[in-house]
């Protein structure tokens, strides 16, 4: 489950993948809204790992 935490690193450190202006969203070039999108996504991923940890009884 903790391996999920690697996703934001791959998504954000692989810069060529998102270094584009298109597709734009609400006037935001891709480069910007993609990075913004990873803020809630990362929070969600950490929350999932956190809940999983609670279930397994992490102190």
């Amino acid at each position: 489950m903790r391996a999920l935490l690697l996703l934001p690193f791959i998504a954000l450190l692989w810069v060529p993948f998102y270094n584009d202006e298109l597709p734009a969203l609400f006037g935001f070039p891709f480069f910007y809204w993609y990075q913004f999108m990873w803020v809630p996504l990362t929070a969600l991923i950490i929350w999932i790992v956190y809940k999983d940890g609670l279930k397994k009884g992490v102190e």
Binding site: L5, N19, Q35, F36, W38
Partner: protein, 500 residues
């Protein structure tokens, strides 16, 4: 807006809010003082707020000392100047949270069990090496000083935008800060962080909705910025040039790894009530990152608004003065200035804790009582702040910026000593100390040779690769630590032990 004329409305609003948090700062000593046995004069009380901060307070406190006034001023300024490249602050402040989630609860446990107050305490507790402890403590204090100075620069910038000249206002703000930190300790910034955040959130939400509305939408904001960068000759732009990929990624990663090695961010962690508090905060703190990204976009809005400045750091205040009525500018500038007080207070407390626990206690007075520790720390917090003030008043601003850049490289070198021991028991103190020393010297040398730039360029054949210097130094640090550990083993202290 001419800086020689005082904007009285803005100044009035500014002073009102500043006075409000001053009262709160002094009142804070009585707030949240739990019924712990340590009540009263004890370093845990003054320097860690009684180690009793729950999820909400920790959220405000850590958010308040991590996203500083200088961020609000400098990130948009960087984005204004260099475009997409300056946006590395966004991935940086995203990636920091998985790191916090994995590492900081463990660090909290280690600190809580043994009553550690500082990173260097934790390191000494584990490795029993005074040398390594001193190395970590020194790095923390030295890296924090220019950081405090930067907060003052943030304050200076908004005071200037109010039309007030001279050093006196800064001095006054600073004396107030120093006094209530002295009397209330960590509780003062924790309480003020509520007001600061509320104000900053209002300012930023209003700005990111109203400014684009006035200018014709985000499409226009980005278009004006694109045209401005194209006119500059195309070395910068709305997206990165291929040569910027590696520096962008390494700056984001390296900064994320360094962020919670600083004494002020760690102070926020150690003051938490439980490890669970920290985990929850890793989930909810990214809310600030959205804010940071929006603040960064103010740099592009300046192009659409046709605002021009001589010094990049003036871009946010200039934009507010151009787009908003005086009273709202005054409110915004107060938010930024108060945003400087919170981290400056926590930084001076973090540095004071380090000095007291890892220098005063081992070297000056080993029998110091808990009460004595609190006294020393309070005095040191004054000295630290005064030092930062002198720094700003008498040395050029560029010097503070350069030192802060180097500070980032330095603090990152404490990562192995502080973090590795939480996960693996293999490294010995001497291996880590050698790695630290080589990392500090190598990193400083690289940065110095490059003319104090955060990025170093390697030339391999016809190709060149640029990377964050701090991360290069960390790699060297770790390699050296591994080699020393392999060669000298656990008995590294008994060197030269090459023969057996």
């Amino acid at each position: 807006m001419n800086s020689s004329s005082i904007n009285w409305t803005a100044l009035g609003v500014f002073i009102f809010f500043f006075a409000l948090v001053t009262v709160m700062g002094f009142w804070a000593s009585r707030w949240q003082s739990g019924g712990s046995a340590n009540k009263g004069a004890h370093l845990d009380e003054w320097g860690l707020g009684g180690r009793n901060f729950g999820t909400w307070i920790t959220w405000f406190l850590v958010g308040g000392d991590f996203y500083t006034a200088y961020t609000v001023i400098a990130v948009p300024a960087l984005v204004y100047a260099v475009g997409a490249y300056g946006f590395f602050a966004l991935p940086y402040t995203i990636l920091v949270y998985p790191i916090v989630f994995l590492i900081m609860p463990k660090l909290w446990h280690a600190a809580h069990k043994a009553g550690h107050v500082t990173a260097a305490d934790v390191v000494f507790g584990r490795y029993k090496s005074r040398k390594l402890e001193l190395a970590i403590a020194l790095t923390g204090v030295v890296a924090t000083m220019p950081y405090i100075a930067l907060q003052l620069i943030g304050m200076e910038v908004v005071i200037k935008a109010l039309g007030v000249t001279g050093e006196l206002p800064l001095l006054a703000a600073f004396v107030i800060l120093a006094l209530y930190t002295y009397s209330a300790g960590l509780r003062a910034p924790a309480l003020i962080a509520f007001v600061k955040d509320l104000m900053i959130y209002i300012v930023v939400l209003v700005a990111v909705v109203l400014v684009p509305m006035k200018l014709g939408g985000y499409g226009i904001v980005f278009n004006s910025a694109r045209e401005a960068f194209a006119a500059k000759g195309g070395m910068t732009g709305l997206t990165l040039k291929p040569a910027q990929f590696l520096p962008f990624a390494t700056l984001a990663l390296g900064s994320a790894m360094a962020a919670f090695m600083y004494p002020h961010t760690l102070t926020g962690i150690f003051a938490a009530k439980s490890a669970d508090t920290i985990r929850k905060n890793a989930v909810f703190l990214p809310a600030y990152t959205v804010l940071l990204g929006l603040i960064a976009l103010l740099g592009y809005m300046a192009y659409a608004a046709g605002v021009k400045v001589e010094v990049n750091n003036d871009i946010v205040p200039a934009l507010f003065n151009a787009m908003f009525p005086s009273w709202f500018s005054g409110f915004a500038f107060a938010a930024i200035a108060i945003g400087a007080l919170v981290p400056a207070a926590v930084m001076s407390i973090g540095a004071a804790n380090l000095f007291t626990r890892n220098f005063w206690k081992p070297y000056v007075n080993p029998n110091v009582s808990a009460e004595g520790e609190a006294k020393v720390a309070k005095m040191v917090s004054l000295v630290v702040k005064f030092g930062a003030l002198v720094f700003i008043l008498f040395l050029p601003t560029k010097f503070a910026l350069d030192l802060q850049l180097l500070g980032g490289v330095w603090i990152l070198q404490t990562f192995p000593a502080l973090v590795f021991g939480l996960f693996i028991g293999w490294f010995g103190a001497n291996a880590l100390l050698t790695g630290w020393a080589v990392g500090i010297i190598g990193g400083s040398w690289l940065a110095y040779a490059d003319g104090i730039k955060p990025v170093h360029t390697f030339h391999i054949g016809a190709d060149s690769y640029s990377m964050y210097t701090g991360l290069i130094a960390l790699a060297i640090n770790i390699v050296v630590a591994v080699v020393v550990q392999l060669v000298f083993g656990k008995g590294g202290a008994k060197a030269p032990a090459l023969k057996h």
